[in-house]
Symmetry: C2
Subunit: 211 residues, 2 copies
């Protein structure tokens, strides 16, 4: 069966807990998954480390990567570039690892277009009421903060249909397990096993010829 | 999330062990799955029971079912009709059970056309050599038997690409588990959760209106 890694994009609502989910998935199955680290031209915030949250590079370096086609996808938000370095992703995939990109919807769709076999997962709270609670917070947020979160959530919700699966983050342990099962089940999709099917067909034809 | 049952068609190579696989899946998860029993006009063989292997009915009764659109799909092989009664399938799906039809490729494609959300699973031995061994047997089969098995296997192999997943029947316990995970994972496909996504979107829009 398919032993090549699957390219996986994980997106989700802010507050859906997808960061924690990814961390748990990777720590539980370190030999199965690899997390792609994005490159960015923005400055590191307090506590962020080069090569852990992001590769922090200069605008000049970033534009060289664009020119050399060394990014799978990239986008510019406000003044800064964000992108997915190609080399790491391709290396890990060829080693048989399932590679996870944690990016926004626009990037997700670009990746899917370039690599149609990409698996798109969207992390969501279990229901609308829960999502609302997480967006509105405990009543200590300003109206501006809530409004900007809502705008973003609406945009994210519009993109949900483009994803292959919804990952419902209700209880962390159960959700990680389910996510793992969904991804591993995907390895058995027919379209990911064209070589296997070809081999079976050729062998049967050969056998028929021997009769 | 999606609580409606999924319609599942299971096909596979002769000798792939799909019968044993189905039996084990149903006995392990009796509340999750329901097995659709086909109707046929052929006579029961020794050991077969009405309502267990098949519903054995007359040609006249079968043709009445066709006329009343009471079959999801049907086909005629040699002198006999085989078909899937609609009532049982729709009842179980609405109860939230995942309903399994164990039918051949032609029937599978008819069901998929009528119900595009049908999940198609194809059971196969782990590799071509194993398939060959199962087809050729222990050297005690006549050439005619082997030839007819091979012809059928070639036909089945041609249809493999139309299925959603390949179920590799290597070790029974592991295979049943995997099959269960694949089906349950399918419940989280976006296209099976349109109501959920709609509710989230509407709730977000309502919240925005309140701002």
């Amino acid at each position: 069966m398919n032993t090549k890694g699957i390219l996986i994009v994980v997106s989700g609502f802010s507050g859906s807990g997808k960061g924690t989910l990814m961390k748990e998935l990777l720590s539980r199955y370190p030999d199965t998954y690899a997390l792609s680290i994005s490159a960015t031209t923005r400055s590191p915030r307090a506590g962020e480390e080069h090569g852990r949250e992001y590769f922090f590079i200069s605008k000049d370096e970033f534009e060289k990567m664009i020119a050399k086609d060394q990014l799978i996808e990239y986008a510019r938000y406000v003044e800064n570039y964000y992108g997915t370095p190609r080399e790491y992703v391709e290396k890990k995939l060829s080693e048989g690892k399932d590679v996870i990109l944690e990016i926004e919807i626009q990037g997700a769709l670009k990746v899917k277009k370039a690599f149609p076999d990409t698996l798109l997962l969207f992390v969501t709270p279990p229901n609308a009421a829960e999502l609302r609670d997480r967006l509105v917070g405990r009543g200590t947020e300003t109206m501006d903060v809530i409004k900007s979160r809502l705008d973003r959530a609406c945009e994210e919700a519009e993109g949900m249909d483009s994803y292959d699966y919804l990952i419902v983050n209700d209880e962390l342990e159960a959700c990680v397990q389910k996510m793992h099962e969904i991804i591993q089940g995907e390895h058995q999709r027919s379209f990911r096993n064209k070589d296997f099917m070809k081999e079976i067909k050729e062998d049967l034809e050969r056998l028929k010829g021997e009769e």
